[in-house]
């Protein structure tokens, strides 16, 4: 066990102790105000205001590039270089009764011979990305959860040694495996197919590790109770352990989906035909073929970034928890 720990020193903050002890946190954060003398509260007021000022300034730096992106995506090409970020007027097109900014329509409308004469099929890239990411995520979460169940809830000889082997592969640079993997794909005839993108992404040591950490925290007595009730291993897995590790499943799902949605290297070498491009590859292709059309590119970038931001804001509770399990590569 000590070797396992030594691989990831972050584990000293054991998963069990990660959900912060709320009493302790309260004590740390909401320190009793003590004597409420006026001078003291004035000082607090100024120091907290200063804190907000600094944090607000950093937030502004974080947000500004995205503001520029959004505003540029609404501009006509002639205004892109202008120092004024605000478009003088937003050209819109009526699409099914709703006015949509022209650039966005242009990005999607690959039948429009003027704009997308090189055949950028943006809607298709979107669909490809979501299709590949969804399948890869589903398969990876399933295989990881099953393997984690085996590592965390079943006892068999040599288990911990196999787990250590799994764990140590997380340290392997993925690049070492890329060239042979590509040759394997060629010999399997999977180059330029979605299968070739999905299958290698369906197995992950990281996912197994994360799920195992979650499953270890479920009381062992449940297994015994289930066994007394005559439940088999599969039922134990499917009806008891899996529902109980829902937070872990959600976290892993988000991570995996995000990773596959943003995945770049593997699709870049695997995909040949434009109709199969995923979003990142499509964006790169867009940039290299029509890089001068900054306004359209920014519309495309906005379209690919905004779903991620919305997803993050909605699901950040799970994400933060997952990352703080100390399991994500720094």
């Amino acid at each position: 066990m000590s070797t396992i720990n030594s691989i990831r020193p972050g584990q000293s903050t054991e998963p069990a102790s990660i959900p912060p002890d709320s009493a302790k946190v309260d004590k740390l954060l909401n320190r009793p105000p003590g004597d409420r003398r006026r001078s003291r509260s004035v000082r607090t007021y100024f120091s907290v205001s200063l804190l907000h000022l600094v944090l607000g300034a950093i937030s502004l730096v974080m947000v500004l590039p995205f503001v520029w992106m959004l505003l540029t995506s609404l501009k006509p090409l002639s205004e892109v270089a202008s120092t004024d970020w605000i478009p003088s007027s937003v050209d819109t097109v009526q699409t099914t009764g709703v006015p949509v900014p022209r650039n966005y329509v242009d990005v999607f409308d690959y039948n429009n011979p003027d704009i997308n004469h090189r055949g950028i099929q943006f809607a298709r890239f979107y669909w490809n990305s979501i299709f590949v990411a969804a399948w890869a995520t589903f398969l990876q979460v399933l295989t990881s959860a099953m393997a984690a169940f085996s590592f965390a809830r079943l006892k068999w000889p040599g288990r911990d040694r196999v787990f250590l082997l799994y764990l140590s592969t997380m340290m392997l640079p993925g690049l070492v495996m890329m060239i042979p993997n590509f040759q394997i794909m060629i010999s399997l005839g999977l180059v330029d197919t979605f299968t070739g993108l999905i299958v290698p992404a369906a197995f992950s040591a990281f996912g197994t590790f994360l799920m195992r950490q979650f499953m270890l925290s479920i009381p062992q007595s449940l297994d015994e109770a289930a066994e007394i009730d005559g439940a088999g291993k599969w039922r134990l897995f499917w009806e008891i352990i899996l529902p109980l590790s829902r937070p872990g499943l959600i976290t892993l799902t988000i991570f995996t989906f995000m990773g596959n949605y943003n995945s770049f290297f593997w699709p870049l070498v695997m995909l040949r035909s434009e109709a199969k491009y995923t979003l990142p590859i499509g964006l790169l292709f867009f940039d290299s073929s029509q890089g001068q059309a900054t306004h359209l590119l920014m519309a495309a970038v906005t379209m690919s970034v905004v779903p991620m931001i919305v997803l993050f804001v909605l699901l950040q509770k799970y994400l933060v928890k997952g990352i703080q399990l100390g399991a994500v590569k720094g």
């Binding site: 907000h52 974080m62 394997i184 770049f264």
Partner: protein
Amino acid sequence: MRTRGTRTVRNVGAGVAFLMPNLLGFLVFTLVPLVFSMVLAFSNWDLKLHNQYKDKHIQFIGLDNFIQLINEPNFWKYLGNTFYLMMLLPFGIAASLIAAILLSKDLRGGSRRMWVSLLLTAIMVGSLLLLLATGQGRSGMVILMASLVASIFIGGAIGGQTIYRTLFYIPNFTAGVATMLLWKHLFNQQSGPINSVLRGPLLGLTDVVRQSPSTLVQAGLWVAAGLIALGAWFGFRRLRRAWADGDCGSSAAVFCGLFLILPAILAVPWSPLPRVGWTVLAVTIGVAIWQLIVAFRGREFYGRPWDGVGSALMTATSLMSVQLVMLGLGIVCYYLPAMAAVPDGLTPPNWLTDYDWAKPAMMLMGFWGAIGSNNMLLYLAALTNVPAELYEAADIDGASRMGKFWNITWPQLAPTTFFIVVMGVISGLQGGFEQARVMTKGGPAGSTTTLSYMIYSQGFEIGRLGYASAVSWMLFAMVLVITLFNWKFGNKYVND
């Protein structure tokens, strides 16, 4: 006894069955390729020579790939690029630590009344800004900025940590090709907003530089030299104290001390005035010897030679990065008068298309993402686990803020920091491919080509599979060294 035996047997079946899907994938896509890659690295497989149209045979050429690699200047250049980009690491970690500490502070002032007054202030300041902007008939741009600032303040006053944390983390969540393309256009020398913002202040600076005597401006180089020496002194002193306290072994201290001398050594060839470089080197070595003498005066050294090398190395390399940045800034200072003398005055750099600026540009982008990264979240979690009693005890002792940070927070966070550093180094060694491919294609003139990009271009663009595998195994060896280092020295932090 018998039931126990059968259960174990049944569990083996179930265990293997549950593991099987993942294990199969693991074998096919990790273990087999690993072995395959090892074999490849010793072969001369080149798709130009060995394909279906030519019937040459692939041969095993032993270590030839590695020998060729070591003799190839480009390999060393790309390795240097990789290390150059990794210098971002200490800055990124420091930024994420500062962000985490700021976020972990009580943002509501401790009481409801305070919170309400803060919120009111935020609303007041925000609306005042907006009113001023619109009242004075400013452009839409100013109004936009004012409303953005106002909404951030009000949001922050209401939501506190959650709002700021979300905003800080967004660059990480959207990371990928889209964000890199965005930055590519932000960095664009003509139409990019970064340069249009910089142009005004740089013109102002041009006037200042032109009016002030050039020696005054060039004194910046001397200031930088002084700061480098100061950094070295600070680092040597820290090492010496750790050495004397037994936190740091002799070999570790000496080894890490070498990193602190490195910037001074580099200052000799790089500095435009040789005497500055030599002075810095002389002072730095002098300080090192002085600290050695202080350390040796009537002391006994505890601990084994390589004890505490992890934290010492961390301190030394971080300081080294700061020193190198100082050196760079000093050199820029020296050339400022010449740069301002041209008719156009100082102009913003061409960022990604400039050989010298492409890497700093990428580091700027990286820094933007590093502030609110996963590291910040890890630090936030670790900060809540620092026992409050420690701070209370320190308060009773009347400790200063800095004292509390260096004596309580920093040591308590050491395991987290160590984890972050190790992970950062490992991913830094493998990093740089995506941004290079998207933003610069490894250029200009290979200045942003890292080892990972080299593997890509050799293996997938040129088709020298054997050679590319050899590069990837060099990379693997480096990662392995870091991992072994982590195994050997990481334990100390874990068990503390």
